[in-house]
Symmetry: C2
Subunit: 469 residues, 2 copies
Amino acid sequence: MKRIFLLLFSMTLLNVSAQTDADNVKAIFDNSLLNGMSYQWLDHLSNQIGGRLSGSLNAERAVAYTKEEFEKLGLDKVWLQPVMVPRWVRGAPEYAYIETSPGKTTSVNICALGGSVATPNGGVKANLIEVETYKDLEKLGREKIEGKIVFINRPMQANLIHTFEAYGGCSSERYSGAKEAAKYGAVGVIVRSLNLRLDDYPHTGSMSYGDLPNHLRIPSAAISTNDAELLSGMLALDNNIKFYFSQHCKKLEDVQSYNVIGEITGTEFPNEIILVGGHLDSWDLGDGSHDDGAGVVQSMDVLRLLKESGIKPKRTIRAVLFMNEENGLRGGRKYAEEAKRKGENHVFALESDSGGFTPRGFSFECNDAMLAKVQSWRDLFKPYLIHFFEKGYSGADIGPLRKNYENIVLAGLRPDSQRYFDHHHAANDTFEHVNKRELELGAATMTSLVYLIDKYGTDTISNTAELRD
Amino acid sequence: MKRIFLLLFSMTLLNVSAQTDADNVKAIFDNSLLNGMSYQWLDHLSNQIGGRLSGSLNAERAVAYTKEEFEKLGLDKVWLQPVMVPRWVRGAPEYAYIETSPGKTTSVNICALGGSVATPNGGVKANLIEVETYKDLEKLGREKIEGKIVFINRPMQANLIHTFEAYGGCSSERYSGAKEAAKYGAVGVIVRSLNLRLDDYPHTGSMSYGDLPNHLRIPSAAISTNDAELLSGMLALDNNIKFYFSQHCKKLEDVQSYNVIGEITGTEFPNEIILVGGHLDSWDLGDGSHDDGAGVVQSMDVLRLLKESGIKPKRTIRAVLFMNEENGLRGGRKYAEEAKRKGENHVFALESDSGGFTPRGFSFECNDAMLAKVQSWRDLFKPYLIHFFEKGYSGADIGPLRKNYENIVLAGLRPDSQRYFDHHHAANDTFEHVNKRELELGAATMTSLVYLIDKYGTDTISNTAELRD
C-alpha cells in the first residue's frame, strides 16, 4: 500500500512537472496571441518613429521610447548604456540612368550603399564593365577596368532553401566591391541588390573601403533587381552604353548613442544572466519593421510575457536593444566589453534579427550535449509548429560575447525566411509587411525557450572547445 | 574476393537507391525554384482572368486557359469533364450604414454572403440584436428578435495555432445564421467576417437556408472586423441604433461548366491513379490567388515538375482542377461519381486548398501504418523544412472519393496558415499577396510526395476501417 502510494505520489510529481512546462508554454503563447504588446510597440517604432539609422534623430527617439516602455513594465532594472556610434547620412536622393546614345536615357533605381562616399559634384558618367563577382576583377586587370563603372551582377541563388545562405553567398560583393574595383582604377561600382525577387526596390547595406586611402575611394550603389536585369540585357546588346549616377552621402563625426537595457532579476541565481536582444537601429530607406523592429519588440515582450504568465525566473533575464548593428556593431561590442569589465556572468544569449515572420525554431552555437538537451524539449514546442533546433549561427549583436565566456550558449531565432530578402534594407521594409500573429508567435517562441533555459540551465554542459564544431 | 565484391556491389545498390530519392527530391525542388511555372500561371489566372465564381464568364475562361496550358505540357491525356454548376451573382455593390439618429449615419463595409437573397427594393433598415452565436437565438426567442437585424459577432479564436481550427469554430455562424434567425422573424443577418485581423475587408463565403421556404428567406451579409467592432461598441452605448443594408444578389439557373483534367499515364500500373488537385472556381471579390489559384497552379506544376525532373511514374498521375468548390462542390461530387461509374482505381489523392504560403507538410486521412510509412520519409523532406506529417483533414474536392474506395489515402497540403484568413474570400485575395518562392516550394513539396507515393505505393497497407480513426 505504502509502495503504491509512493508510486502514485512520484507519478503525480512527474505529471505535475511535465504539465507545468506544457502549461507554462501554453500560457506564454496564449498571452502573446491574445494580449501581446509586440505589434503595438512595433506600430509606434515603425509608424511614429520610422527608419532609425545610427546617429539619427529617429535613433535617439527610439532609445527614449523603448526605455519609457521598459519602465512601464515594472522591471527590476532599466538603464541606458552609452556607446559612440558612426554617423553616415544619405543626403539628397540618388539619381541614375542608362544612356544608350547622347540624350537617350532610361532612369533606373539605385541607392547609395551604407558607408559609401558621394559621387563627385555633378555625378559620374562612364562606360560599364559587368562582372558576376569582384573576384573576376583581377583577371580583367586595370586595362579593362580603368575609368569605368564596375557593375557586379550576382543574383542570389534561388534554389537555396535557407535564404540567408543565398545572402551570404553574395554579400561580400556588396561589402568589398568598391574596395576591390578601386584598385584597378574604376570610377564607381553598381551592385545588384541582394533580393531574391525581381522588383524595383534598391537594397542598401554596409560596405567598406578597408584601409584604402581617402582619395582612392569610389562611390558605390545598389541597383534594383529589375534594373540589374535591364542593364545586363542592354549591355549584352551594346557594350558601349554609359551609366550615370549621383549620390550625396557622407560620413560625419561619431555621436553618442545608447543600448537600451531592461531586466528581471533572478530569484535564485541573479548573477547568471540570460540575454535576449535585437537591434534598435535600422537602415534609413524603410521603417525597419522586419530588420530589426521585430527583434526589438519581441525581446521586450519576452520580459513582459514572463511576468504576465506568472513565471518568476531563477536567473536574471535581460533584454538588450543594441544600437548600431547595421553599420558598425558598436553596440554589440560595447555591451560585451562592459559585461567583461563588470565581471558579469552571461550563460545564454538569444538574438532575433531575421524578421518578424512565422517562427520555425532556433539555431544554436553550443556543444552536442546542449543541443540534445534543447532537442529534448521538442515536444513542448510541437503544438506551436516549432520544429527547427539545429547548430548554426546565432546573431551579430551577441557575437562579441563569445570571447568573454567559455561556457556561453548563443542562439538565434529562425523565422520563415522566404520573404525576408524581399524587404531587407529596402524602402519596403515597412509595418504593413509584418503580420501580427507571426510577430507574436515569434515573441512567444523566444519566451518559451528562455523559460526552459532558465528552469533547466546550461551551466554544466557547455564547453567552448566543443561549442564551435 | 568474391564476397567483398558482392558486399561492395550491394552497398553500391543501397547507396544508389538512397541517393536516388534524395537526388530526385532535390531535382524537383531545384526545378521548381529555378524554373517553376506556378507563378507565371497564377499571374495569368489572377491578373488576366481574375475572380472565377462558378457559372461566370471568368470561370469559363479559366477552364479554357488551364486546358490549353495542360496541352502545352505534352501530357498523355487532357480532357474536360462536364458538370452542371449553380450560378449566384452579386449584382450591384452592397451598401450599409449604422444610423444613430435620423440622418446621422456611418457607412460600414459589408458584402453579401454567397447564396443569400437580396434585400427588398430600397434595402432593409431595422434595430439590431447582437449575439455571439446563432445558438443564442433560441434563448432570446421571437419576442426579442422579430423585426430586427441579427448581428452575429463571433471573433475567431486568436490563440489557436492552426487557424483552420479557429475558422471551423465560427464558420457555422456564417453558414446557418440566416436560416436560424429567420425562424424567429429576423429581417436580416449581419455576420462578423471570418478574419483573424482587424481590417476593413468584408469576407464572403457560402451560406444556406436549408429547406426554409423561399418567402421566409432573409438577406445575409458579412461585415468587416473593424466595422463589427465599431457596431458592437456603438450598440453597447445605445441599443436603439439602426442598421441599414441593401444588396442585389440572386440565384440564376444552373449552367454547364467543367473540371479540367490532365494526366501522365503510369508505366507499370496505369490503372492505379494518384490524384493531385485544387479548385478552379473562386469567390468574386478578389482574384482568388490564394483560394485556390495557388492549388490549381501547384497541381498543374506537379505534372510538369515530374517530367522536368526526368521521373517516369509507375502509376497514373492525374491533376484535377475542380469546378465549384466554393458554393456547391459539384465538381468534386461529379468527379467521384464518374470515377465510380468508370470503375477507376484511385489509390491516393492530394489537395492543395489552404493558400500559397510556405509549405509545412501534409495532413493525411489514412491508417497508422500508412502514416508511419509517410513519416519514414521525413529525412527526405528535412532539407526543405517540411516537418508536418500528421493525421487530419485532406480537402473538400477529394472528399467525395472517400466513399468510392476502401483503401484510398487522402492528403492535404498544409502551408503556413497564419496569414490565410487575412485574405480568404475577400477583396484582398490577390496576386501580390502570393510570394513566388513560397508558391514554388508548395508545388515542389506536393511533387515530392507524389513521387514517393508512386514509387512505394499505398496499396498493401491502407484500410478504411482504420483510416478514419
